[in-house]
């Protein structure tokens, strides 16, 4: 690949190869392509602008410094970037949250409770946005499955924490997680076939 090629014309896999060589221009193109998806995920998990800013920044710096670790056999560059952001965001909220202090009634309440009062407005905005948007994949699931998956994947709770705060047996939580994921996977396959 010619280094003089405009980075905007390159695919993600070619760009990540240049990022592994510390090419700042190639990295900026990747940032522009994926920052909205990454930031949206960070905001969904962190629940506030200020935390999302930090996590998004850390995720992209991590990407910049670990570009050489990308392995195309394990998925697209986009899913790799989102996985980095997800891991960072979950680590962040686990660090800043005392799970045992939370009382969970629904996912939105949990989100609001772990935020300082000054940032609860953000959480409420987010919750309203989710309520308004009926096209989310999780909305395809029954409420009990949606709740355990959301608490685990977007709020960083462990299965035993979820069992405790919801007051249901651990085995029930595990089976709801599995059934919910299976149902999502079926929806994805049906969507792909349509």
């Amino acid at each position: 690949m010619n280094r003089s090629t405009e980075p905007q014309r390159l695919g993600d896999e070619e760009l990540i190869g240049l990022v592994a060589d510390m090419d700042a221009g190639a990295f900026e193109v990747l940032y522009d392509r994926h920052s909205q998806a990454v930031y949206s995920l960070c905001y969904r998990i962190a629940g506030s602008r200020s935390l999302a800013d930090d996590v998004c920044q850390e995720a992209f710096i991590s990407l910049w410094r670990s570009g050489s670790r990308y392995d195309p056999r394990r998925g697209s560059v986009r899913s790799w970037i989102l996985s980095i952001a997800h891991n960072r965001a979950i680590d962040q909220i686990r660090r800043t949250t005392r799970h045992d202090a939370r009382q969970v009634h629904d996912d939105g309440d949990a989100l609001a409770e772990r935020l300082p009062a000054s940032e609860r407005t953000d959480a409420e905005v987010l919750r309203r946005a989710e309520v308004d948007d009926t096209e989310r994949m999780l909305d395809l699931l029954p409420g009990d499955q949606r709740k355990v998956i959301s608490l685990a994947f977007y709020s960083g709770y462990s299965h035993s924490e979820i069992a405790e705060v919801l007051g249901v047996p651990l085995g029930t939580v595990k089976s709801r997680m599995r059934l919910g994921l299976e149902r999502l996977q079926v929806h994805m396959m049906e969507g792909a076939e349509r």
């Binding site: 999302a52 670790r69 989310r136 994947f153 599995r178 994921l181 996977q185």
Partner: protein, 259 residues
């Protein structure tokens, strides 16, 4: 962990959602490496979690996030380019270092890492590793090697430098668990009988000592191990102070880091 058939399907949903304990996750990962049946099941369930990553309400990233990211990226790239240029200069006709590079490159390929077609330059980790080996002649090599090999869970805060006081310097705060470390490169000597002192500052409060001073070597490199309390501050400052430190800053800060 496993059922009567020796599989771990009951836990796989929680596993791909990241909701298992560390011990469970390690056991499952080990099992998946040996059991094709469960590995296939895990891949199927992971497809759903992969879709959930992007299944969120779209929110635009603020411009200042990009500004901060790109400032760090350009600083790293500049440091890396300088080290790479010094490597070239330090090995006339490319002989000894190139041999190292070729060996490293071969090892990188053998690991099956991604290497884009037609890439003529060597992989950054290989160059960084070579730079570390050539530390006697390459100023930024060690820093680069550390940059590329740092742990995944480390959090970085980039310092703002007063370039009138410290032209060409760069610095960063590394946070990992309860540990905090300030690392500087290219900082001028603090002056005869003086050291650099680190200060913590909360919003609208006067700076207070972080109980950390540090010196720099001939290349302006220095590291300050900081107490965990700095993570509660809003900002860190560094000033040049008399040996032993001062109760209050006596000179303007050469750098500051927003935490």
């Amino acid at each position: 962990m496993s059922d009567q058939a020796g599989h771990c399907q009951e836990l796989l949903g929680a596993y791909v959602l990241g909701a298992c304990s560390r011990q469970e996750s390690e056991q499952i990962a080990k099992h998946l490496a040996e059991c094709a049946y469960c590995a296939l099941d895990a891949r199927r369930l992971s497809a759903a979690t992969g879709a959930l990553l992007a299944d969120v309400v779209p929110v635009h990233a603020p411009a200042q996030v990009k500004d901060r990211v790109m400032a760090q990226v350009r600083a790293d790239a500049s440091l890396f380019d300088a080290a790479r240029a010094r490597e070239r200069d330090a090995s006339p006709r490319g002989a000894p270092a190139a041999a190292w590079w070729q060996r490293l490159r071969g090892r990188d390929s053998a690991r099956g890492r991604h290497s884009p077609p037609g890439r003529r330059w060597l992989s950054a980790p290989a160059v960084a590793f070579a730079a570390a080996l050539l530390i006697a002649v390459v100023g930024g090599g060690l820093v680069l090697a550390e940059l590329r090999n740092e742990p995944e869970d480390i959090r970085i805060r980039t310092a703002q430098i007063d370039h009138a006081l410290a032209p060409g310097a760069s610095a960063r705060l590394e946070l990992q668990g309860d540990q905090a470390r300030l690392r500087v490169v290219g900082l001028p000597a603090p002056g005869r009988g003086r050291v650099y002192q680190v200060w913590m500052r909360a919003e609208r409060e006067a700076p207070r000592p972080a109980n950390a001073t540090f010196a720099v070597d001939m290349r302006g490199r220095g590291v300050a191990e900081l107490p965990a309390a700095v993570t509660d501050a809003d900002q860190l400052l560094v000033t040049s102070e008399p040996q032993g430190g001062s109760p209050l800053p006596t000179r303007p800060p050469v750098l500051q880091v927003d935490i």
